[in-house]
Subunit: 633 residues, 2 copies
Amino acid sequence: MSLRQKSDKMGSSNPVIGLLGGGQLGRMLCEAANPLGIDIAILDEKNSPAKQAHNTNRHVTGSFKDPVKIRELAARSDYLSVEIEHVETEVLEDIEKNGVEIKLADGSVAIHKPPIHPSWRTIRLIQDKYLQKEHFRTSKTKIPIADQMAIESGESALKSLQEAADKFGFPFMLKARKGSYDGRGNFKVNSAEDFAPAIEALGKLPLYAEKWAPFVKELAVMVIRTEDDEGNLRKCVAYPAVETIHEDSICTKVFMPPRGVDDNVCEQARKLACDVISTLWGRGVFAVEMFLLEDGSLMINEVAPRPHNSGHYTIEAVPYMSQYKAQLYSVLDLPVPDELTPRVSSSIMLNILGGAAPNSHHKLARLARTTYGDDFDVYLHLYNKESKPTRKIGHITLTGFSSIEDLEKAAEPFISMVDQIREERLAASAEQLRPQEEAKASNKTNPGGANPVEGNNSDQPLVLVTMGSDSDLPVLKAGLDILKEFKVPYALDITSAHRTPKYMMKVAGEAAKKGIKVIIAAAGGAAHLPGMISSETPLPVIGVPVKATHLDGLDSLLSIVQMPRGVPTATVGINNSTNAALLAIRILGSFIPQYQEHMSRYQLQMEEAVIEKGGKLRTGGDVAYLEGMKKTK
Amino acid sequence: MSLRQKSDKMGSSNPVIGLLGGGQLGRMLCEAANPLGIDIAILDEKNSPAKQAHNTNRHVTGSFKDPVKIRELAARSDYLSVEIEHVETEVLEDIEKNGVEIKLADGSVAIHKPPIHPSWRTIRLIQDKYLQKEHFRTSKTKIPIADQMAIESGESALKSLQEAADKFGFPFMLKARKGSYDGRGNFKVNSAEDFAPAIEALGKLPLYAEKWAPFVKELAVMVIRTEDDEGNLRKCVAYPAVETIHEDSICTKVFMPPRGVDDNVCEQARKLACDVISTLWGRGVFAVEMFLLEDGSLMINEVAPRPHNSGHYTIEAVPYMSQYKAQLYSVLDLPVPDELTPRVSSSIMLNILGGAAPNSHHKLARLARTTYGDDFDVYLHLYNKESKPTRKIGHITLTGFSSIEDLEKAAEPFISMVDQIREERLAASAEQLRPQEEAKASNKTNPGGANPVEGNNSDQPLVLVTMGSDSDLPVLKAGLDILKEFKVPYALDITSAHRTPKYMMKVAGEAAKKGIKVIIAAAGGAAHLPGMISSETPLPVIGVPVKATHLDGLDSLLSIVQMPRGVPTATVGINNSTNAALLAIRILGSFIPQYQEHMSRYQLQMEEAVIEKGGKLRTGGDVAYLEGMKKTK
């Protein structure tokens, strides 16, 4: 009935799978399809990564969100599938139910209904994370998920958040229900003070709150789901469990098997992943992301209904049935194995993310292209995408013939370089925060008539603000604002004591020579950075303890403040970068009058502001004052 | 200077390799290039297999033998390479020396000289097999090749062949110097009687003669050759040695490691292959085909300056550096490993050749798609080429985690199916030899007024001609001609006693019921077919011993004639299918008068011909008679 003879499950002619989206997942799907004689018709922009790796006259140019184009794709495909879950499910539902009209050779019109896998039902469910987890929670199989509640929008939001706080206690997670991935669209709510910023950060999206579940590791399991054409589940088969590392809300590293996790936990993870996926609809591969909690139990985080970067490693580690081949096989209903045993002992996948410059990743690609190991192999995958900061433009897979620990050692040069590229990128992005125009303008006007420090010019940073991780940057923001307000030239850097120890030592050792007068160092957890920098510089070092995942910042504080005699670190309050900046300015002000004068004015303004408030409270009373506070929020 | 910024060995942008030819080798080169961010511009027809697997606006449509198109390709490529050695080396030489003109953005013209790998010198040398081997013979390193001599063409050819016979003795090989591959263009000359047929078979090609070197096995080794831009050899690195099986002059099967060959012989083969390739020019991968002789020594057969089907197995067996990746790396002068250790214990590659029908190979592809092993894996590679008989349209690679013997057992269903497809194809092609039109015409005219056999019609085959291998078909040709001359309806089949025992038994068991009156069975070596068929049928069976590689047919003869009491086989002379056919006709003639009458006429004609010859010889004398013999040749 279709324009194209139905392919009878690869009996006689090459089947055509129409794919919504032509990014790197589609590209790797094409790379798997080419040797198998499977045709992939891609709906995406003209030169999308997937189209580059597969040449067919069946591609459709346009947006995979455009219903007209989706119908055009359906008309020329034997099957439909998706590379991304953020598609319009209405049109898929309509195609499944009513088909698309196609013109036959004799000019007559027929109805063509290509099977759609995974089902639009699955895609629609998964698009709403809250509903997705409600579905799992209420399924017959007991699937552990975090307690959650939907948050009302608009004026009722604050009230709804308070209900969540009452129900879950602090902290809890506030999450966008739709449109987010890779941990984006999440906000940790530590107290009622965070309500407004959280709502501001997540925008006007529908939200839900989730009980805080402190986890030890993030695990993921890819699952192949097959069912017959009537929708009866055939089987779910799980790939090995992996450990995923997220940085800057992006998955950056994947370890197979997970490091330091019991085999039986990994087996439980696979079993659980199959339980989860068996509740869904349609054929295909699915990623199941989960948390390993402190008590050793597992909790489902979320599901992606498609190949996933936590499954890239299967290309080389399960070469007879990579996740891409599995996607093709399951969509076409070809038989898949009952077990997915890797052909290597261990594997590490490192995403190549766009760096500070368009060529930042080149050295990493070069390292991957030119490294050969006796007991490990290195595979480079470039997606031929334009490099932009944080964009996934490729990945590297290492496979090993011994333990994951040995492979991690072998991978050290790669991991260091990945981290270095990340830190350069973060530094560059932080640098953009710095109001260079202001700084330059202030130079020209020689502000405050101050005595310039000998050998200094105002482009010369006086304060070095450095941090152990870019995740500390939001905490430092308030302090940086103060430095800007005081027109203090500063430099930014990321110098991880544990990931870039040599670089940290170099930065600390050279700071004084470079004209830096004060160093502000922020770190969380085992916050060694401020003390270590202090060990290597004669400059005053101010440490900002950053509240990390656990212990509410107490760990950071003690790590910074409890320095041994002889190596002082000026420690400020937890997350209190404002005070760190003001302390730095006071230090500068002792020698640069303009800063001292400015500091005096600043202190005066603070005083005046408090006096004014006291007056208001005294005259207006507490009720009116509280009313006024609500309005300004 | 080029239209395209020079890519500085993958420093900043994707390099473009221009490839002459876009068949399956180019396709697999593209499959290797895609994840590495390497662009391949292909010169070939519009929808060639390679172009399907890589989409770029740099492809050129046209013939890879067209100098204009080759220059067009050169203008848009950073490097040039070839998929096939049968290209015009003159234009490549000219491009290397004089470059191609390209228009710059400002309208001016510049000269662009993309490096060409392998060198046109290597390609040109290899195109002439005789010169190729002379080159190896006269190289500094001692490279064993068969004694050879060039054969003059035209009128001097016979004299030249006689010189070869005097020098090498019988048998010797006559080979085309150019344009042949896969063992095509070869003729075994057993005696002076073969001179004329050999020259007829090989056409007007320049020829050379080679001393007969009876070999035990054919081996092959892929070698990576690298050199710097000044042409100084960097290194040659060899892949593991493999055993290659050729059938119908086509490589059909490859075994890694070779079965029953000592490890040190394999190491010698690798060493020798490196010696051979180090005498050539340019970078790239090269296939070195060699013979393992009876005394355990190795002898070089020939070299292919490109990826080769004896190296297909490396895609999965040496996954970190397949022959295709190696081709890319060497052309681009990226570092290649010092050792090429496989990541599996064993591997078998089976070429998928087009069968009797366009879908003959589908069952094989299906088997490859749907077989999963515990200690072996199966990989399907389809080239998306139209299926034609004997065309290479795909291949299957099996990889194993134990011995090659175990893997061969696991591969048995695949090997059987490959053999079966081959036998169907050969049977169909033999069937085409049968003059169906004639047979039908004779039916209509009810020739000779013979009494038709009860229940018979003239479409009903009376003789079944079957053989153990299609390689027996040329021997049977003379007998088939006799059957045609006598208008005997016959059926053809291939029923290998060893490769298709069940099928053979079925055919034998059913022949009588199907109306067959006589069976002619041809076989060589351990020629069990005629006797085995005889065991399973009440019909008279005529055995034709076919001269196999060794022992001049004596093995075949004894296997057929020495049947135990109770199971007779009518054995004719070695290779004497004429007599087998005449014997069959005599058998038929005992019951079908037309054949007996025809046989009588035939015998009479033979008698008359000899009497005539005797008369000539008696009257003209021996000198004139011999002169006349030469003219009729």
